[in-house]
């Protein structure tokens, strides 16, 4: 071995430490299984017949022919689950587009312009950053009542589209957009809006990926606000619909049907995450670690 080898290099060539490496991976694998087991259990349960759900830990290996799609069929026939799925997709997508657009526009202005009222605006945003939104739940509900927005998608999408966190995130990241590039764009006759879209947004693309997923997740999983706003079953999103099913006597011990619903509620976000995961984890932690 080269003389500059460090202590740990020498250590890893000893047989005892290879055993240690194996043990480390064994521990990690067991822990990873522990984290993934609830997903597996949910997925298995959604294909099991009613009496098999609790009888077998995961799958009834001796009777794999008993696996069924019946739970999914029940889910779409006994309750308007298809409708809930579409509602969830619609509300979450519109919300995400809106919040990402507004935050990136506003963040761009905060990062790259001087304008009247910028300092007080940022101070006010900063002061409210840690304010738990729950304190506004009753007064926001009252406001929605005044607007006639109870039981409407507008109430789910528009009030939440203000994200102080998102504004700060975009401001921080867009500080790195080179001024020379903006300057060159202006000389070439780009409007400010074009500069935002063609210069600023592409520069922060990885962060946009992360923030988009984060916003979509928040809307998709949101429960308390839709729960107080929505009244008609046909307007429910998936979490509201599923939580409501838990209380209905006809689904008392229909665990397979409930897990089929949970599977369909979890699968879209899990897929999205696996596609975007690299950007997502890097974007999630970049602010916290550097700042």
């Amino acid at each position: 071995m080269i003389p500059r080898a460090t202590i740990s290099d020498r250590r890893s060539s000893q047989p005892g430490s290879q055993l240690g490496t194996l043990f480390l991976h064994l521990v990690l694998a067991v822990l990873a299984f522990g984290v993934l087991a609830p997903f597996l259990w949910m997925l298995c349960a959604s294909f099991k017949e009613r009496h098999d759900v609790m009888e077998h830990a995961f799958l009834p290996w001796a009777h794999l022919d008993r696996l069924t799609l019946g739970n999914f069929r029940t889910l779409f026939h006994a309750v308007p689950f298809g409708r809930w799925l579409i509602n969830s997709l619609f509300v979450s997508s519109v919300y995400t587009v809106l919040v990402v657009t507004l935050s990136s526009l506003g963040g761009f202005a905060l990062a790259k312009y001087r304008f009247f009222g910028k300092r007080p605006l940022m101070a006010m945003m900063f002061a409210t950053m840690l304010m738990p939104g729950l304190v506004m739940l009753p007064s926001s509900y009252e406001l929605m009542y005044r607007f006639g927005w109870l039981n409407s998608y507008a109430a789910l999408i528009i009030p939440g589209a203000v994200s102080v966190f998102g504004m700060f995130l975009f401001r921080q990241t867009m500080l790195s957009v080179p001024d020379e590039l903006l300057h060159a764009g202006r000389v070439d006759g780009c409007s400010e809006l074009r500069l935002w879209w063609d210069v600023a947004v592409p520069t922060v693309r990885p962060m946009i990926g992360a923030y988009t997923l984060l916003s979509f997740l928040a809307a998709w999983n949101s429960y308390l606000w839709p729960q107080v706003i929505l009244q008609d079953q046909s307007k429910y999103t998936i979490p509201i619909g599923l939580a409501g099913m838990l209380g209905l006597p006809q689904f008392e011990s229909q665990y397979g049907v409930l897990m089929a619903g949970a599977t369909l509620g979890v699968l879209p976000v899990l897929t999205l995450f696996i596609i975007l995961q690299k950007d997502f984890i890097a974007g999630l932690t970049s602010g916290a670690v550097k700042g």
Partner: protein, 321 residues
């Protein structure tokens, strides 16, 4: 830089003095530059004022009123706050929530750190795959988590009790949802599944950002692994630790969906009843939005006190380190 751009724009309008139409165009050009930042922040400011600042301010007078639904209101002064001070159910909810928050933070932070240290070992292969697996549970909404865990924690055949049965000779018969003593442990368990991967991702990023030269230098000085951890690693990841504790405290004190769905209500003898469940019950089941707003402000005060204590303690710790 901005000054520079203004110069360009002045130049452009100066050069364009040839015809009236062209000078009008350059005036428009200057105007769009001048007003662009206002146009960019306007949608945010409008929505922020209407849907954030207004409800925030409005909830102060609202907490001094009693309402039956949003339509009918009557001024009652501070009587909501005085009622809360004497209501045993509210104090039970506060105690439950605090027990949950303490249990959760005491376990989540060390577990996340431990997992991050394991994953940060240079000997680990497939690090990204492991990180992906550990983080994946964090994507799941609390409603889905509550549904899955209410079955995983089912008395005899639930996966958790089964797993204990494989590990322990006599197994366990823990009735997680029915026994008041296990209400909070069950919630903490579900929350740990939800959040340990999240904490791990932050700690791992912090660990990888620690300057490697510090370790090499201390190795030359003959520092042991423990002393390296204490003097280099821990100070390096401290800011992330403080951040996780702060975020975790706010989230834990605001706990609602998990117990609400898991117990389908308050739990056995109100053992799963939290502050926000109390708020929900007052405002949206009993219909008194004013009382709910008062509960909201008590929650804000509680979060503020706890957060200030934490910031003070962690700040004081840094001075002596």
């Amino acid at each position: 830089m901005n000054r520079n751009s203004e110069h360009d724009i002045a130049d452009r309008s100066g050069a364009a003095s040839g015809s009236a139409a062209r000078s009008r165009a350059s005036l428009l050009w200057a105007a769009q530059y001048r007003f662009a930042p206002y146009a960019f922040v306007f949608p945010f400011v409008a929505l922020f004022g209407l849907f954030f600042l207004y409800p925030l301010l409005r909830s102060v007078p609202l907490s001094l009123q009693t309402t039956s639904g949003p339509g009918l209101m009557r001024y009652v002064g501070t009587s909501h706050y005085r009622f809360l001070l004497t209501d045993w159910l509210f104090w039970l909810a506060v105690a439950n929530t605090l027990v949950y928050a303490i249990g959760f933070l005491l376990l989540q932070v060390p577990l996340s750190l431990g997992l991050a240290l394991l994953l940060n070992s240079p000997r680990v292969r497939f690090r990204n795959a492991f990180r992906l697996a550990f983080f994946s549970s964090n994507l799941i909404g609390q409603v889905f988590v509550a549904m899955i865990f209410s079955l995983l924690l089912a008395p005899r055949y639930g996966l958790v009790n089964r797993a204990f049965g494989w590990l322990l000779p006599n197994g366990v018969e823990t009735n997680w949802r029915g026994d008041p003593r296990y209400a909070m442990p069950a919630l903490v368990l579900a929350t740990l599944w939800l959040t340990v991967g999240y904490g791990m991702v932050y700690f791992l990023a912090a660990l990888q950002a620690v300057d490697q030269e510090l370790y090499e230098a201390s190795q030359v000085d003959g520092a042991g692994a423990w002393s390296q951890f204490w003097h280099i690693t821990l100070p390096g990841i401290r800011p992330v630790g403080v951040f996780l504790i702060l975020v975790g405290t706010i989230a834990a004190l605001s706990l609602f969906e998990l117990p609400f769905v898991f117990f389908q209500g308050a739990g056995p003898r109100f053992a799963g009843f939290t502050i926000v469940e109390y708020l929900y019950a007052q405002g949206f089941e009993a219909g008194d939005l004013g009382m709910a707003a008062a509960v909201g402000w008590v929650l804000v005060a509680l979060i503020l006190i706890v957060a200030l204590v934490q910031i003070k303690v962690s700040g004081a710790g840094r001075d002596t380190a």
